[in-house]
Assembly symmetry: C3
Homo-oligomer: 344 residues x 3
């Protein structure tokens, strides 16, 4: 899917300086880019790197103008423009057709231009939308609904009744809709399961990383909002609600019924107790811990238990200053002793 | 598996107030319950919700009596009764038969009324007990023993020689019996593996969440006791012993040879060093860290490294009071300076 | 693969005391070892256990000499000798052949003496080296290169273009080469993906634990060096570089572009921010947190954020001493009040 530099300038809405006829085939790092490749300069301070690039074209900031060894395109946000042009140049491979080994229930509804790989199972009354790519070894249970243009990578497992929107990417080993972790002690012999008969709703344009898990609601729904991006090995428990355009980094765990509103950014290895609520726009640093029931307002949060970043820093500095504090107390003691000696 | 309200009252051993002839088909949340559904009121303070429910029946505490819009059943523990009746109304689907694509070794012993799904492998001399359900894509290695009435969900992998009891549920992507993580430095070129030739024993009535891992013993056994419930993405290392009726939340990791005794409750993202011992009845809060070799007594524990919750809270409060302490020291310095000025 | 004691003494380069003709079949714990089994004594203080063993042979330290119930072999490092002899006695089973259900692209190159199990997929232009064992359900995408004598356990997924060396072990559910977690906010509607078109290079003699994930580089390479050992459920993000002979325990997460140099030892549940650099020989304790961009020198590190273990301990002790500090300040206040009362 190569493009001329002229076409690229038009796609990204930028101003081309130089010759626009060369074909561009790939995106690349500015250090390693070769002929036929395009790269980007995020800030003016990378001018030196830019001057030495072997790329055939660069995306640069609007205020950036230098003698460059190649044509360049001035844009508002070069990194965003680079990502956009990468989407055009590196479109994921799509196939059409159903592998002869796939086991598809007769009652399943398969859309047009769908690909279904080897050793895939599709259960009774499942639905798969147009253009969706189901890779080898995926297991789709009964009554699962998957929208159009999704990529479901190898060995993903989807339990029954789960509902998935359009343009969703589920990476290898993702598990959607397993039982939530809810038990009731019977007072003597152990635990019996609280019913886990709800479902999971994954809205449009969501990406979920490899081996992550989203449990089904116990009685209601576990829901992930449009445009949300989730990294690898993340745990999302029963009845959690995640808003739109939320970003969640790897190995974070979210306990039952917690709500994370739109546009939050959550670091890696964060833990959320149950029934917490993270208000829209909050940013929570990696390894933070949010207590059950806690309400986290917009702003930057850090630590265990979570507190505003400024407070965390101040407190951390105070802890670091403890040796000095101790010295000061010692000195005060000495002085008082002296005073008492004199006046005593 | 619908039941009349009369039958339900009998099953849960409760006292029915109202008409018992209606058929109940499903359990539901009190807010969303509709005709034909049963819900529950955990405490008397939810009386208002109860008065507005559309459910056909409610399970309520023994002391609860109100004008309700539907028949209700007084029981000692409504949540437990609800869980019990959910088990009756929502029995997991069972199938019988062996998919034609499954690869089952001739020497494997398969019980009666077993279901084996598509693309399953069952190795030489493996045994599968009566009624057990092996879902699509599960890989069972040589000499694995699985008891009766288990559910092994899609794409679970069980290495050779692992032994599993009755009524065990392994959710999708669980891995049992991979090599423990033990290596010996050879002093020059790197590491060679300490032998990982032991096994894993999973007793009866255990549930293990999606993508969790239980490693085989190095020379001995990794054992999980009867009735224990383990959440998603949990790591259990070689030679760990977990007692009966232990609950372990998501993303917790337990290092080699650690022992967790009966009836412990372990939060999420907890880490255990090796050779630790958690005595029966201990409760360890989420994100806690237990040092290698540490003995944790009964009681509630918190923090890194783990300490009794009360101490943790006291210490946390003191850290929070550091700004005041610093102010007090400043004030003392000033006063001493004044005194010295006067008396000097 | 049994060996005589004489042969074993030769293999481990030790000095045999006693009769060397007995055949040894297995390694075992010193407490449980039976006839035909060999065990080891790590330190002289285990002499009592050694005196009571039923093993047919013991590996003991060079300075160790006792009346033992069996022949014994003096070696420099008994644990290492034990691991070496275990490798000889317990060689992993190897098979040769390709299961009839495996789907192998015509353009794939398969070496000699390879085993490929049931329901395996091997994509176009993939290469698999001599003697490599690909177990049931593994999914190998296009252009993946796997070296000789590897073990790829059940249901592993390898995305396209990933390159794997010789003698590599990937345990069940490992995912190599999924997209890195990089997105660019578009300022209004959400995120678009930063290109994730790089690859993963796994060098020789590496072991990766069950359900761990290694993401592909965004534009460059995610690389793991020779002889490195990685535990279960570990996350390695895009463009990370890990050196040779590094050990990483379970549930640790390493963010994008971080570098961990040769011979580091990383505990469990450690988190690394992006663009950090861990210099050769550093040891980082479990649950530590390394801030983005941080440089960690050789030595032992602990805590969040990570600090030298000595400092961490000192600081921890000071925090523990806060109650006493508070008492001291109270006492100083009282004394000053007294002084002022007198002199006032």
């Amino acid at each position: 899917m190569s493009q001329t530099i002229n076409d690229i300038a038009e796609i990204v809405g930028g101003k081309l300086i130089g010759d626009g006829t060369t074909e561009i085939h790939r995106v690349a790092n500015i250090e390693t880019a070769q002929q036929g490749e395009i790269s980007f300069v995020e800030k003016a301070k990378f001018a030196e790197q830019a001057a030495q690039t072997n790329a055939s074209c660069l995306l640069v900031p609007e205020n950036f103008y230098d003698e460059l060894p190649c044509p360049f395109i001035q844009v508002k946000n070069p990194k965003l423009a680079f990502a956009k042009i990468a989407e055009v140049l590196h479109q994921p491979k799509r196939k059409v057709g159903i592998d002869k080994t796939a086991q598809i229930a007769e009652s399943a509804k398969i859309g047009r231009d769908v690909f279904i790989g080897a050793f895939v199972c599709v259960g009774e009354n499942a639905e798969i939308g147009d253009g969706t790519q189901i890779l080898d070894g995926v297991k789709i249970s009964e009554k699962v609904k998957i929208g159009a243009d999704c990529f479901i990578f190898q060995n993903v497992v989807i339990y029954e009744n789960v509902s998935i929107g359009n343009r969703v990417k589920l990476h290898a080993g993702v598990c959607l809709g397993a039982d939530g972790f809810g038990f009731v002690g019977d007072g003597t012999n152990g635990y019996i399961k609280f019913p886990q008969i709800g479902t999971v709703v994954i809205e449009d344009d969501i990406e979920i990383g490899a081996n992550s898990c989203v449990d089904r609601g116990s009685l209601g729904v576990t829901r992930i909002g449009k445009g949300t991006k989730i990294d690898n090995l993340v745990q999302i428990a029963h009845n959690v609600t995640i808003g739109e355009r939320v970003v969640i980094a790897s190995q974070t765990g979210i306990s039952g019924s917690t709500i994370i509103e739109d546009d939050c950014v959550i670091g890696g290895q964060v833990g959320f107790g149950d029934h917490a609520r993270v208000l829209s726009g909050a940013i929570i640093g990696s390894k933070a811990g949010v207590l059950p029931g806690k309400i986290v307002r917009a702003g930057v949060w850090w630590g265990v238990p979570v507190q505003p970043l400024d407070e965390y820093k101040r407190q951390n500095a105070l802890v670091k200053s403890l040796p000095r504090l101790r010295e000061e107390i010692k000195e005060l003691k000495k002085q008082i002793k002296e005073i008492r000696g004199k006046s005593g």
